[in-house]
Symmetry: C2
Subunit: 475 residues, 2 copies
């Protein structure tokens, strides 16, 4: 059993929490009920307004920005690249150079790690109230530019000692919408009792994963933090032993567990995959220059919207928000409204006895370093229902998958503080012989353990890939 | 012995080559002699000229650039940061957005990997001829903007199949001199016989490391490629067995070997170290904006030089170059001339039975991602002999180290194609009890195995750290 000892205490605790869906602080059914209650209680009014009705925001020919110079701004960029079919385009993008916290406080209850989860209202959410991390705060938030209240639990993160930090990663946001934005995904462990404020609840990792199997209950920020949680690496024989003693033996959950925990056994080594990344980053250029909003080609600005002349991609809008029942909070802000629902899917296939994921390498204009790993299918900017057959690898395959192949198919929301009712379909499909081991150029098979390894070293996986990974349940 | 099998064939071959200094294609003494001969044979004339005498270069108020728009340009930047004592400054920087090849062809000779090494003339080198990789080429070189000859051996790299590629990494150059420049460090293996051109020779990894122990024989590009070579990871008991059967037992070389190969045993885990990086990247900002050369504050431009008003840092100069004995090649170009010699040093110390390196986290203005890992001491921009005692952690310690503590102390050249006679002192010092395990803020102990792990994932270690690592010999 030296391997299990060799696995760190931290990964063991997370693994245990991933398997815990009973004997929790609150049952999963209770959580769903509680969340529905929260949603009923709250009153959210969100109205589209003209840009010139935005309070404390300025819209000049260059950009749409907050008068404090903080928060975020909507700016124009000109993109040039030798990747893909379109060598140059203009578009608006969210510029939010601050690194914010997406943080969970965790605590052992009955020997199992529980995550302090907030039922948080965000104006853009389809369900206004979704489960969010303990703390979701930009630097503007916590340096209190908006003169609001200090975010709850902030001090625990600011005062955390190194041995309390179980996870601390810098990960990207949507590369087609944000200019090189990153967040600090952090998990800190506390041992003492702390005050539990209204709308907060303790959940296990297993429960959070189960809740993601419902539409729009768990917000994007929770999903990104969860995705980075390490569960350890073990030699194949130890993982097989795990699977034998688990009640989930021979289910798809045991296949995911084996793919997550097995050190080695990948079709390609990590070094081979880095070679592919190096090749792509050396071959493809991404030149992004700022351009005034008013000068963007193919985009039209009117009183209420910045939109593409063909109605594609997304619109920048302005909204007025009122939230509350007794005490009412009101503000206005720009938001991004998508042109349509998107679709993100991983196609998985067993190769040499281990489940592999078909990972797409993808260049997006806001990427920090040219390309990131993306899901097998990611179509957020066009209407996937109108994509011509064969134009997007694996799209037809995913849309025509048989029910027994589909292990996951839900609608999940994008960040409700920036995106107006944006939800995307998230699918995981298990392929058989009909999908060849040979993949198209720019796609590569990886085990879940390899994906976790790249997650650990930050900025390799895009947020859509991380979101799908976060949903994978082992029971 | 399952671990040795588990270690990849590639790392085993490199490890074997690292131990080979006898029975090579050419003895190390012969190589040194051959290199001296090459140096004698070649005639290099390099003269400083006025900027307006540069052929095919334009110098306007914004920048100094090649008329083709290729190669590189000297531009001005304005830097703002909350790191360190100086919140804002202007400086010239080399902008060379192309990713170039730094590549070795390797081949097994008598069962040992040999590296095809070139005795290459570079005008800026202290010794004009130094040992360089098989191929050193920017995209401009190999797309032949300069209408010169196609670089030798280029086609082997362009046509390499995935199973020929033993290493392929994207690594940074000097962050204080280059704006986010990266090179593709690549090693390909061939099995067939290939033509060996004049000035090329086969050397083992062990020989290259031995040659680095002399001043200015091995160029910077060779050192950076060598630094990334993986040697494998083994459990501690296997490494101990290695060391017992090796003749180098109980020497400093065996300590380096143990630190390089042992998986685990670090004072901090990789995850802990990533936590530190995340903390720093989240806390410190680096804002770099382009500014016209003519508007740089504190820099003076005259006919021949761009220099700092206090004579600090470096100068931009223009040179005319003539190389050859029979056939003469002539061109002119800008170069960077340092204000003085610099010093780069690693302080190492045994902690829990494994040698650890005191690694500095360092923000440099041209860094791709805010901070990189640097040597314990890196002082290239100021005169280390004039640094006030105690102003720079570990500098006094390194300068006063006893001879028996010093395992490495040589002068090494920076890249002779851009830098005019720049050489820096490279030192590795083994510390005892006088250096505490507790380090100053922004410094962290790592084993060599951990440093190799970060090297593998690219863009974590700066070039000065990689240079020092490349010199570490195991015999």
């Amino acid at each position: 059993m030296r391997y299990i000892q060799a696995n760190s205490d931290v990964t063991n605790r997370f693994l245990k929490s991933a398997f815990a869906t009973d004997m929790c602080y609150m049952s999963t059914e209770q959580v769903i009920h509680w969340l529905l209650e929260q949603n009923k209680k709250v009153k959210v009014t969100i109205n589209k307004i003209n840009f010139d009705c935005l309070e404390s925001w300025s819209f000049d020919e260059n950009k749409l920005s907050h008068n404090s110079g903080k928060f975020f701004s909507i700016e124009g960029i000109n993109v040039k690249t030798n990747w893909g079919l379109i060598p140059e385009w203009d578009q608006p993008i969210i510029n939010q150079p601050e690194v914010g916290y997406l943080g969970f406080i965790v605590k052992e209850i009955n020997g199992i790690l529980h995550f302090l989860t907030q039922a948080k209202i965000e104006p853009g959410n389809v369900n206004y109230v979704q489960l969010s991390p303990t703390l979701q705060a930009t630097r503007s938030n916590y340096s209190q530019v908006h003169k609001g209240k200090k975010p709850l639990y902030l001090e625990y993160f600011q005062n955390a000692t190194p041995n309390q930090i179980l996870l601390d990663q810098l990960q990207s946001e949507q590369g087609a919408r944000f200019l090189r934005k990153r967040n600090r995904n952090i998990i800190i462990k506390i041992d003492e009792d702390i005050p539990i404020h209204d709308n907060f609840v303790w959940l296990t990792l297993g429960q959070l994963k189960k809740l993601m199997q419902k539409d729009n209950l768990v917000n994007m920020d929770t999903r990104t933090v969860i995705s980075g949680i390490p569960l350890g690496s073990f030699p194949a024989e130890v993982v097989n032993f795990f699977n034998i003693i688990q009640t989930n033996a021979n289910t798809i959950h045991s296949s995911f567990l084996k793919s997550a925990l097995t050190d080695g056994g990948g079709l390609h080594s990590i070094e081979n995959i880095i070679t592919l990344v190096t090749h792509l980053k050396s071959t493809f250029d991404l030149n992004v220059k700022q351009t005034p909003l008013s000068k963007m080609r193919n985009w039209i600005i009117d009183d209420k919207e910045i939109f593409h002349e063909e109605g594609k991609f997304f619109k920048v809008i302005a909204v007025d928000v009122e939230i509350g029942n007794r005490e009412v909070v009101q503000w206005s802000q720009p938001m991004i409204e998508p042109a349509q629902e998107g679709l993100c899917a991983f196609v998985c296939k067993e190769i040499d006895g281990i489940l592999h994921f078909a990972v797409q390498t993808k260049l997006e204009c806001g990427n920090h370093d040219i390309i990131e790993f993306a899901p097998t299918v990611q179509t957020l900017t066009g209407d996937y229902r109108k994509t011509k057959q064969g134009d997007l690898p694996f799209l037809d395959y995913v849309l025509n998958a048989k029910p027994e192949q589909i292990v996951f198919d839900t609608m999940q929301s994008e960040e409700g503080g920036r995106f107006f009712r944006e939800q995307n379909r998230n699918i995981i499909v298990i392929a058989g012989e009909e999908i060849a081991v040979e993949l198209p150029e720019k796609y590569v098979w990886m085990t879940l353990n390899q994906l976790y390894t790249f997650l650990k070293f930050n900025n390799f996986l895009n947020i859509q890939a991380r979101n799908l990974i976060s949903t994978i349940s082992f029971i």
